[in-house]
Subunit: 243 residues, 2 copies
């Protein structure tokens, strides 16, 4: 693994080294960086270990995919006590869809840290989701199932897994909120501003005012997501007040 | 869950109660029996909780299947460092095949403990594998991922997951061993006897003699499996001596 150690230095973008980049992405301190290096190594580098085994993120994807599926299965099982096997399977496939995983990988800008011999713009769009899965595989090897669970809750479940939205019952909390305001003749304002702070990834924050009073705040990696998250919080907060 | 508690008493077969039956199957002490009760409840009982959610093992199967897949993925990832994504996927599907899961469930006689309103002989053969998956789901809810991993290693991986056999390179260690004896003009004898001991499930033991000297012993839930396990041990022991 000497070779892979050497490329570590070339991974110092944005003034931080690979460790601090990872630390920000993961939300905890990685222990064994070698796992993460593999998770960011593209097959085009044609790297092999001493025994001639290929080193790249494709095997890690397999592992990460399995762990992600297990954590999402366990979450859905607990979150929807009335859902039968078929329902749970369907909901899970929505959460771990290629499209969704690509979005998650893109949000974390994982592609910025890939070591490759082919230009990054030649990758297909699935590179983002593949790297996201590989990253989960690396977390599993480095810190075990518990840390994967924590990472998946923070990066996937808490911000994006909404049962009502998955079921198609609520397409957008923002529209739902606006409709409610129009019906009730209330004034609202979504104030959006950039709020990246110490994060490696750009973030936006939203303050939602109802009749000039802030009723919800949220932060996410895109304006649209931050608005949606805020509207959802406001929607549930108001529901609880009304009922 | 009052109803489900009541059926606990009816689960006292073979002089033990449900707890001790489970303890033997699991190899550790279960904490919350309710999870296991659900894992052994067939839909024909038409049980529901206070909120009207169905109580039966079908949801548990979904959860157990996901956890089993993750543990097997992680095992194969580590056991075959040269296997690429496609290879690992293929090997996993062999381990978690319906046929294999049915055998595992059958070995543990899980069907003996099912609560059902339809006669057990009317179940299809997949009931065994379904119960096995549901049991893993119950372990996950009761004791977490670590205990699932332990259970899967003890009941699936250690006794039955053999990479060479999965790859089709070795169909039977017994035939391999016999061929070797014939070629080397050595005498052998597989002595098979019942050895259930304190186990809930019937077990067989095998002593394998080579020129009157015991070279390997093993124990399993069928004669065939015990012979195969013994021959495999002898095969590897002899290989290490020769090379």
């Amino acid at each position: 693994m000497g070779v892979i150690r050497n490329i570590l230095n070339s991974r110092s973008g944005k003034g931080g080294n690979f460790f601090s980049v990872l630390h920000k992405i993961l939300g905890f301190r990685p222990k064994n960086l070698l796992h993460y290096e593999k998770a960011f190594t593209h097959r085009s580098l044609n790297m092999k270990d001493k025994k001639g085994n290929a080193i790249n993120f494709e095997r890690m994807e397999f592992l990460g995919d399995a762990i992600l599926s297990a954590v999402i299965a366990s979450h859905l099982f607990k979150a929807v006590p009335g859902g039968n096997e078929g329902y749970l399977t369907k909901m899970r496939s929505k959460v771990v869809s290629r499209k969704h995983l690509n979005e998650l990988g893109k949000d974390l800008k994982l592609i910025d840290h890939v070591q490759t011999n082919i230009p990054k713009n030649q990758f297909g769009s699935n590179i983002h989701g593949n790297l996201f899965e590989a990253l989960i595989g690396a977390i599993y090897l480095d810190r075990g199932y518990k840390y994967c669970k924590r990472f998946i809750y923070e990066r996937v479940i808490d911000p994006y897994v909404d049962i009502e939205q998955l079921e198609g019952r609520v397409i957008s909390y923002k529209s739902l909120f606006i409709e409610w305001c129009q019906k009730e003749k209330r004034e609202f304002d979504f104030e959006v501003y950039e709020d990246t702070g110490n994060d490696d990834v750009k973030h936006f924050a939203v303050k939602l005012r109802l009749d000039d009073k802030v009723v919800a705040k949220a932060r996410a990696t895109s304006k649209k997501k931050a608005e949606e998250k805020t509207a959802k919080r406001a929607y549930y907060a108001l529901q609880n007040k009304i009922t």
